[in-house]
Symmetry: C2
DNA sequence: GTCGTTAGTGAACATGTGTGCACTATAAAC
DNA sequence: GTTTATAGTGCACACATGTTCACTAACGAC
């Protein structure tokens, strides 16, 4: 992790130095990190990340990808890989960052345009699964490497998922039915929701995208599971005295 | 899958042929598949399976294991591998079989000695997680390859998990509180339970085995999640008219 | 225009890989 | 005892892998 941060930090510092010296802070649109050179570098960096995600799509797991393979798909010679990452581990950490960036963006969009209370659960499930389908590679990466990746990648993903769970718990506090939940119990419930959604995501990602019936079944299953959870949550704390 | 069945079938047939011809169905204790030779073969077969499980314990994922590596840990030359499996895929399918055999055995034991209704959920969680810890390699294999394995292994695991979910649903029908559940909804609820338990299993398998506090936290989390699910289930079907 | 920096190249290396083949030793069948 | 079947060996091959190194070309700073 820290190696990734160091690299990114250095790159940012370099880019900052250049823009500071070349542009005396004037009024140019200042597209960040301008310059044909930087743009090209970022492009092949992205090509490497995309190549890994693409390779990961089918059967493969991240730990079975080879550096050469990724470089080849990215249209670059193996040695060029080292201009961007110190090795596959660091590329993996970048994928974690990117993947959770898209997940958090989804949450941001969802919060900025809140759904009407009617059918809230069903609509939320719909929105989430549709988004997961649209960004299948990122969600697939999270789902796979959450459990099977190298320990650095796996731990990073698990940390992000915990963070997401906490965010969700914070959102849940707004529901009037969930009074009387303490923080721990809220996270416990949020964990249940996250599990159900991740499980549904795995099913969606493995499903035939053209089989509308199967997709519908998965959506409905997830909706019912969430409803059951909320039904239980509305009763919580009345019986269990703890 | 069918290649595995074929191989096993052939081996069984061969062993059958031998025992039929060598033993005229007399009163010898007839330990099945007797003979020093068969016993030796089964021993190195098991050594190969154990080697794979052992290698899988830490960081590695099954698809990143090499045939030579497995053979070396098993204390056998690579070519000898082919006397037992046609390749790593077939060995993977055998691991699926073995892993779910231990899971089903746990269920069998649990059913034969039913728990008293008091604290039933808490005790069941305790039993399950303790069993998972005791058979960590098998449960780890299931947890990992459920989502990241080659498609044949992954599909086999998912099929077994569906089967397990159905079994659990059949068990749930005995609860008086769960009247009014149709079969689909029972499986939906059972899926929720399975998800929660698998998620807790993943946490347990990653946890430090000596950190009693952390283990306790995981146990309690899983217990609360199951309680919440059952709380919701008790209310099911009253509100949702479907 | 000149020159330094650097993203990307191509070749080389040592090592690991899956798989085939002739072989050996030994349990089992006769 | 003689013969047969076979689990395991040792060696070979062609190929894939991670990493290094000197090199080239072109962008950016001056």
């Amino acid at each position: 992790m820290f190696r990734l941060l160091k690299t990114l930090g250095l790159q940012c510092a370099m880019r900052l130095k250049r823009s500071l010296s070349s542009e005396p802070s004037d009024s140019t649109p200042a597209s960040p990190g301008t310059g044909v050179r930087d743009e090209r570098k970022q492009r092949t960096r992205k090509a490497l990340l995309d190549a890994a995600l693409t390779l990961l799509d089918g059967e493969r797991s991240f730990s079975s990808l080879s550096l050469r393979e990724v470089a080849k798909v990215a249209g670059v010679v193996p040695a060029a890989f080292y201009r961007h990452f110190t090795g596959m581990d660091e590329l993996g950490m970048s994928l974690v960052d990117d993947s959770f960036r898209t997940l958090h963006e989804m949450m941001r969009v969802a919060r900025s345009a809140p759904l009407p209370p009617a059918n809230l659960i069903a609509r939320s499930v719909e929105t989430f699964l549709r988004y997961a389908q649209a960004h299948r590679l990122h969600f697939q990466f999270i789902a796979k490497e959450r459990v099977s990746g190298s320990s650095s990648v796996r731990l990073a993903i698990r940390k992000e998922l915990r963070l997401w769970t906490s965010e969700l718990a914070a959102d849940l506090v707004a529901f009037p039915k969930l009074k009387g939940f303490n923080g721990d119990d809220l996270r416990m419930m949020a964990g249940l929701v996250v599990n159900a959604m991740m499980s549904a995501t795995e099913l969606i990602l493995d499903a035939d995208l053209n089989d509308a019936a199967e997709l519908g079944r998965i959506h409905q299953l997830a909706q019912k599971q969430l409803m059951l959870i909320f039904l239980g949550a509305a009763q919580w704390k009345s019986k269990p005295v703890q």
